[in-house]
């Protein structure tokens, strides 16, 4: 556990303690796991706690593997896992909170209509110096945009290319989705990848970018929600027992249509559409 989570945890603990003095009977749920799922669960928990003051939810990160291990050993109430479960993890009960999808974006004026996986690998290896080779404007060099180390979007995209994340070569390194969208919108030769939700929102707002299909499947929220989009993954919560009591209450709350605005705000795709 890193020091910051420890501090945050102790503050929460202190808060929970003072809270408990007033409440008649309170329940505390502890969760560990994926740093992609954790912010989503934390936001959902914040809203949940407002309407359920006797339940506290404590969220810590540590990676999907830790989420699985902790849930299995029963040291936490639920684990957070940002991938589909493996066959040897079928002993756990899974609830999918939302889906995460990554789409490749280019400038709206770029004539390219699609890029294959092989094209993307060549681009991110720095082997393409002319858009003409990929069906774009002849004589224009691609400006490749990638995310900074550690971002889950980078990991998901790199795993689709089957490349180690640190081997992706680029001309511009960005932090969050918005910076990526603005960078591509400002450069007709740029190619990058961002969360699908963020890209579609920006397009709807008139930003001059284009979302490319993958393997012939158009980049839509529906394709991400049903898992058919190639660069997508479920954001899961896992438990050792079928969820009951306070946890079941929280999961029902989290999956309700009323909470889809939180999912959308974090650029994820709600399970039941928007």
């Amino acid at each position: 556990m890193d020091r910051r989570t420890f501090l945050a945890g102790s503050c929460l603990g202190l808060l929970a303690f003072t809270w408990e003095c007033g409440a008649e009977e309170s329940v505390k749920l502890l969760a560990t796991g994926s740093s992609t799922v954790a912010p989503l669960v934390a936001e959902l928990a914040r809203r949940f706690e407002q309407s359920h003051p006797t339940i506290r939810i404590d969220v810590q990160t540590g990676g999907s593997s830790r989420g699985v291990a902790d849930a299995r050993r029963g040291v936490v109430d639920f684990g957070m896992v940002s991938r589909a479960l493996k066959t040897n993890e079928s002993d756990l009960y899974v609830t999918t909170l939302a889906n995460d999808g990554v789409s490749v974006i280019v400038h709206a004026d770029n004539p390219v209509q699609a890029l294959s996986r092989a094209d993307l690998i060549a681009l991110y290896r720095g082997e393409i110096d002319d858009w003409g080779r990929l069906g774009g404007k002849v004589g224009e060099p691609p400006v490749v945009v990638t995310k900074a180390a550690g971002r889950s979007t980078l990991e998901l995209f790199a795993s689709y290319l089957e490349m180690p994340p640190e081997e992706l070569k680029a001309a511009i390194v960005i932090g969050d989705n918005q910076q990526g969208i603005k960078t591509v919108a400002g450069n007709p030769n740029a190619v990058g990848y961002v969360s699908i939700g963020a890209a579609l929102q920006a397009m709807a707002a008139g930003t001059p970018i284009k979302v490319l299909p993958m393997n012939g499947i158009p980049a839509t929220l529906e394709a991400v929600a049903d898992g058919s989009f190639p660069i997508s993954r479920p954001l899961n919560v896992v438990t050792r027992q079928p969820p009951n009591g306070a946890l079941a209450q929280f999961l029902d709350f989290a999956l309700a249509q009323a909470q889809s605005d939180i999912v959308v705000a974090m650029s994820f795709v709600p399970r039941h559409g928007q």
Partner: protein
């Protein structure tokens, strides 16, 4: 008497508190950084060209030089413009337009840096990209930073010019010295100290700036071969990676914070040195 003593001790208490907080920050950063510094030695950070935190390589040299270049470039662009601007406000504008210009400069000094960054990202970077791809570059960083620190220098130099004794100007007029002669031969040399202080303050702001630099420089870790190459500054590196860093990687980011702190100290010392030199000889 009693109330004086009370006030004195209260002031001393608050001063100590402020200084203590600063020491705590420095202490915290040092504590987080020292483990890795001792383990790898300073050389591993300074003389290694590669930043691959997941492979345990923490070369800060490209980013250190980038931060330094960005700062020097921004100050070099902004200082002459600011000095001319301040002179214009004081000696060439009418009373009302001078007041208007001062208010505008003050507003510009207060604009959040992220706004300058957004402007750079959506306007300047595409313009530079039309000259040479990818646009996000060392030059873009210098230009946006220069724009951002310009008002700070103007404010300081302007204050210096306004504090000049009125008899300088009266005597110059009595001697029938032309306005340009007065401005460039008398007024501006007399406020050399303000120019140095303004430039140092601005330099400190430029080297510590994070958002602007992260938005317009491309953030590629490399030694720039030209002004049009994308680069990554130390501050941008911390902002980009801190949220996802663990263990050694995290400590390495604290080491880069320590270097930034050293920069700040060096800047203050340089300012003192330059002002001191002027005090003895000027």
């Amino acid at each position: 008497m009693v109330s004086d003593r009370l006030l004195h001790s209260l002031l001393a208490l608050f001063a100590a508190l402020a200084a203590g907080l600063l020491l705590l920050v420095v202490g915290f950063i040092a504590q987080e950084a020292l483990g890795l510094l001792q383990q790898l030695g300073v050389g591993a950070f300074l003389f290694h060209g590669e930043w691959q935190p997941y492979a345990g390589r923490f070369g800060l040299l490209p980013m250190l030089l980038t931060s330094l270049l960005l700062m020097l470039g921004a100050v070099a662009i902004a200082t002459p413009l600011a000095v001319v601007g301040a002179a214009c406000i004081n000696f060439y504008l009418g009373r009302h337009s001078a007041i208007l210009a001062r208010r505008l400069v003050e507003i510009a000094a207060g604009i959040p840096s992220v706004v300058y960054g957004l402007w750079g990202l959506t306007l300047l970077v595409p313009l530079l990209a039309a000259i040479k791809q990818p646009g996000a570059s060392l030059l873009a960083g210098m230009m946006v930073l220069a724009l951002m620190i310009l008002p700070t220098i103007v404010v300081v130099v302007d204050a210096g010019l306004r504090a000049l004794p009125t008899h300088y100007r009266e005597n110059a007029e009595a001697l029938a010295i032309r306005r340009s002669g007065f401005v460039f031969a008398i007024a501006l040399p007399a406020v050399r100290g303000s120019v140095i202080t303004g430039a140092t303050l601005a330099a400190a702001r430029a080297i510590g700036e994070t958002m602007v630099v992260m938005m317009v420089t491309g953030n590629l870790v490399q030694l720039p071969g030209s002004l049009f190459d994308p680069v990554r500054a130390l501050t941008a590196n911390i902002a980009l990676e801190m949220a996802y860093a663990m263990d050694e990687h995290r400590s390495a980011l604290y080491v880069s914070s320590l270097f930034l702190l050293l920069f700040a100290v060096a800047l203050v010392l340089t300012n003192q040195l330059l002002l001191g030199w002027r005090g003895r000889h000027g």
